[in-house]
Symmetry: C2
Subunit: 636 residues, 2 copies
């Protein structure tokens, strides 16, 4: 078993390879709790939802195993495939006979649903067979195929069995025959197949699948347009020429992932550079401080540069998952720490907010400001997000570390153990002890090491401006010089069992402000500590109305322990100034009272408490804000 | 000649009728300047643009008078029709032989372009005749027809000649034959024909046109959907059942106008009440303080309630014009002053901002905040706004006054003279002297009066909370009691020539704040005086960066005279506090410096000046804001 999230071992020019999931054990700490809930609650409850909503029967009816009408939406099977991908990765992390039985049964149902010619789509099978590929703009056939292929690859890598991969290969072969310059010259309105086909090329060694991915990428922005020329579908310009990320956020990011994958695999610079360019557009001008992507509900889409509303921010959970995937691809291709930074920000904030602390309630959009009443729900009609969150969590161990020639990269700081096969050197095993992200202390102990020198590339997060590094024994590496490098501290030596590295990240609470072109955040400040973005819920502001208080620039912010539902978390205590002159809901526009006496009245500083953004909406209905009004100290 | 903007004289249950344009002379004051430019610059230059861009030749080629390919967009002829409506109304206000010659020639060209069966559309004539009515969602055939019908009506009322009205009637008859429950059961994706057909019913006395309008209104929100079910096209719900204004703003407002018109004309309460309900949705939750409507560029559309971004606000000039038309309809049906208030706000702010002070440059969207570099342009590819602004200005005199049984309504305060035929009484003529909106003093003198008592209903704008009223001679009316009524001060007496009424509206500069659910305006204040909303351009803030200053709640705001380009205007002088801690453009998210020393440094209050919003972008490139950061005085 080599459960790699992407098998780039033969990909040319790659900067850093992943370490397979089975080589990474998360034995304690922050992520352990999320993974336990994933196994115990999230995956079983999602399977039950897929059963209850007819998603599984939709497959079984095509297999001839149940007699029932099609239920739900035409792309619902993609949720099943994503769940299957998640469950497959999960089987790497924990032996679970019950889960394995669910997976096996489902794979068997899917295989039986595949048509003799390789076609697989439960909506267009049977009575709608004559409508195959007639509405690619809307109907997501190849999107579903992409998720099936990803599931097939994960299943093979996780279980070592071929049953689902064989289905994926037959389906991919069918698609390669149906789409091409001598066949249908178009693509799917929802990208996804592209990145899946590149990985299938890696899994099978058949370059033709990567070429097919490039064919699909090249269909966008053609004349006449294949997909109506819509920005919503990224069909407004050729994919390789797009300058700014636009349209439906998840589609845009999956497309950008496909550009990166095909660019790497086929050594196609234009595709790769388009992905990098779109990344700058996304993360330098259109990303929420949480890593959320996609500003607007309308069209589930990216807005213009710096257009990042808080109250109605979209920031779909799927877009956060896709953002992690995208950053990982660019990190793999470049080794640049900015990508690891945004992965971290997204994982801890924009993504994790999509899942409740009980492991079975979900947000689809993730606003940075909410009026009262929003709560996560058990499932959605369009249920793309829940299994997407599950597959990212299940595969998370595979994203934490990397290897390159004689180097082990620690991309993300998490308690546990890694047994990495370092190319050119051999097995380097580390135990990592840390209470990250609550603490900035990370202690690594070498358990096993090769005889040759290996670089330990230890990521110092971009949020940290004061780090300390200690190596024991101290003779062979220069911690100060290592820290001077940007992003990854590089320690090169012949490691020996028992060697220890201590990374100490100073983690004071921070105040963040935005580029002033983000008009939504003008006059506002966000609190952060370590990789976590914080927010203030109505539970924790002593009756102050939403936006009816300000945080003075000089008010101390003090970390403190959370309680009850938030036990184990570090919260931030501070003091707010009430703003009694804040208007009340009423007339859309109101005269400001001529005598601002009320505003001059002495006001009491009020203690408020900020909690990690990911933890909001877990204590009953609340209003919530990430960006708080700032009281700048001016003399007047 | 009875140049009524709407001929509701036989409409059942109407509250207030318009006074025809020819009965209203604007001899001096604020609007005189705009009308002079309309005649001298705007209308001739727009005709030249229509000529230069092929819009006129597109008509002549169908008339067989030029041999040229079709140029431009398929709906371009609507601009010509709107210009023709504007020019027709203009001919009422000024004898202008050159303009009349342009109008006559154009009417002749259009009549010659009409097909034998009554069909008229220059794009679908000739080579595309077989595609008529095949893409009503996108291609605007009936939208263009609506504007032709409106032009025909205006031309008839303004000139007393039938040439263009005959074209309109033949076209309408053709349409009535092509669309109906026994013919095509659908409508146009862009509403407009509905309100035009109701007015044609009024003009011709043929109720069938109003019934046809109701047919089109009833096509929306059907199952199966006629227009794809798109919110963008207001096809998501039956028009009479829609609860919230949604989708493309201009379409939504024209539809709401049609609902009001058909509701009145056909005594169809459901249609009328839908229009009122949509009005509340629009003006109580989705209108900019300028009267601008439509928050988003994406889809040129309304957003959710309270979603009113300033930097990228859409607020199309056409939507402002349509908003005036809509408010006028609801005012006519109810006599309620809230509609006259929003008409005023929109006319002076959201609408007038669309047109430059030189009369020949235009804004399509009208943001409430602009980074540097935005400037009005001479024309647009999609040039709907320029002639729409022209037709509203040209017909403006017809919106200022109203009559009902034994009552003359002064809806809008403008210098000039009105000779109104008051139903049930007779001719009441007034001279109005005022420097409104710069001054709140309005002096009305009776020039001619009937022998019977007439109510003078004098609107006291909603923005004014302190008004004085004096009547000379004083014996017969009770000004204090009159003022106690909300909205319109009612003075009932037998008037005699020489009687005088003085209305004094206290007009101190005002600070406005928003309902806090308008998150874009939290912590912000707008300046206003009288009906005018003000803004601050970079020209007038002494080097302070955009959003890098705040207006203290207690800073005096003083009216003062404008100079150079703004001569004759009243500007507002005040004092701002620099906010040196405002971040600079750079990283999307930036740490706030730990030592906020800079922010504690003594700062000098800085004199800034606000100008009327409508006058912005007339002095070279600038950045501009309506909503300024507010410094609330709190003790801390």
């Amino acid at each position: 078993m080599t459960a790699l999230v992407a098998d780039t071992r033969r990909t040319p020019g790659i900067a850093v390879q992943p370490v397979p999931i089975e080589a990474v054990r998360i034995e304690s700490g922050f992520w352990r709790g999320w993974l336990d809930r994933l196994y115990d609650v999230t995956l079983p409850s999602q399977h039950a939802q897929c059963e209850a909503t007819g998603r599984l029967d939709n497959i079984r009816r095509v297999s001839g195993r149940v007699d029932a009408p099609f239920r739900g939406r035409y792309y619902d099977e993609s949720d099943v495939y994503k769940w299957l991908e998640a469950a497959s990765w999960a089987l790497v992390g924990r032996e679970d006979r019950r889960l394995r039985a669910l997976v096996d049964a489902l794979v068997d149902d899917i295989a039986a649903a595949q048509q003799p010619d390789g076609y697989l789509h439960t909506y267009f099978a049977l009575e709608r067979a004559d409508q195959r590929y007639t509405d690619l703009i809307n109907k997501h056939e190849l999107y579903c195929a992409g998720h099936l292929i990803q599931a097939g690859i994960a299943h093979r890598r996780a279980t070592g069995t071929d049953a689902l991969l064989d289905v994926a290969v037959r389906l991919a072969d069918h698609i390669c025959g149906e789409f091409g310059s001598d066949a249908r010259e178009t693509a799917d309105g929802h990208p996804e197949i592209e990145l899946a086909l590149v990985e299938l090329a890696r899994e099978t060694g058949q370059r033709v699948y990567a070429e097919q991915a490039r064919f699909f990428l090249d269909q966008r922005g053609r004349q006449p347009p294949r997909l109506g020329g819509y920005r919503y579908l990224q069909d407004h310009e050729p994919a390789a020429e797009q300058q700014e990320i636009a349209g439906h956020a998840v589609r845009a990011i999956y497309l950008a992932c496909g550009l990166a994958d095909a660019g790497l695999e086929l050594e196609d610079r234009a595709l790769w550079e388009a992905s990098e360019r779109l990344w700058r557009s996304a993360y330098e001008t259109r990303a929420y401080v949480t890593g959320g992507l996609g500003a607007h509900w309308a069209g589930e889409s990216f807005g213009d540069a710096f257009d990042l509303p808080n109250r109605n921010s979209y920031a779909e959970s799927c877009a956060a998952v896709a953002g992690v995937m995208w950053n990982w691809r660019l990190l793999a291709g470049t080794g640049e720490p900015r990508f690891a930074d945004w992965m971290e920000t997204t994982l801890y904030n924009g993504m994790l907010a999509g899942l409740s602390l009980d492991g079975e309630h979900y947000f689809y959009p993730n606003p940075l400001s909410a009026a009262s009443g929003q709560a996560r729900v058990e499932w959605f009609d369009c249920a793309c997000c829940p299994p997407n969150l599950a597959r990212m969590l299940a595969s998370l161990p595979g994203y934490l570390y990397g290897v390159s020639d004689r180097a082990l990269w620690v991309h993300q700081l998490a308690a546990g153990r890694v047994d990495a096969d370092v190319p050119g050197a051999g097995r380097l095993s580390l135990a990592v002890e840390t209470d990250y992200p609550w603490s900035g202390d990370v202690r690594l102990t070498v358990r096993e090491a090769p005889g040759d020198p290996v670089e330990l590339r230890l990521r110092v997060p971009g949020w940290c401006d004061r780090a300390g590094l200690e190596v024991v024994p101290a003779d062979a590496a220069d911690p100060d010089r290592a820290l001077a490098a940007s992003g990854y501290a590089i320690l090169r030596r012949v490691w020996a069992p028992g060697d220890r590295v201590a990374l100490r990240l100073s983690m004071p609470p921070r105040r963040l402000v935005s580029d002033p072109r983000v008009t939504a955040n003008v006059g506002r400040v966000a609190l952060a500590r370590g990789p976590l973005i914080y927010c203030v819920e109505s539970h924790d502001r002593a009756g102050l109305g939403q936006d009816a208080f300000a945080l003075p620039d000089d008010a101390p912010v003090t970390p403190g322990p959370g309680d009850s539902r938030l036990t184990g978390m570090t919260l931030l205590d501070t003091t707010a100034v009430p703003l009694p002159g804040t208007p009340e809901p009423g007339a859309l526009y109101q005269p400001l009272p001529g005598d601002a006496q009320a505003a001059h009245a002495p006001t009491n500083h009020t203690a408020i408490r900020a909690i990690p953004y990911f933890a909001w909406a877990n204590r009953g209905p609340s209003s919530m804000d990430v960006w708080l009004r700032r009281q700048e100290a001016v003399s007047s």
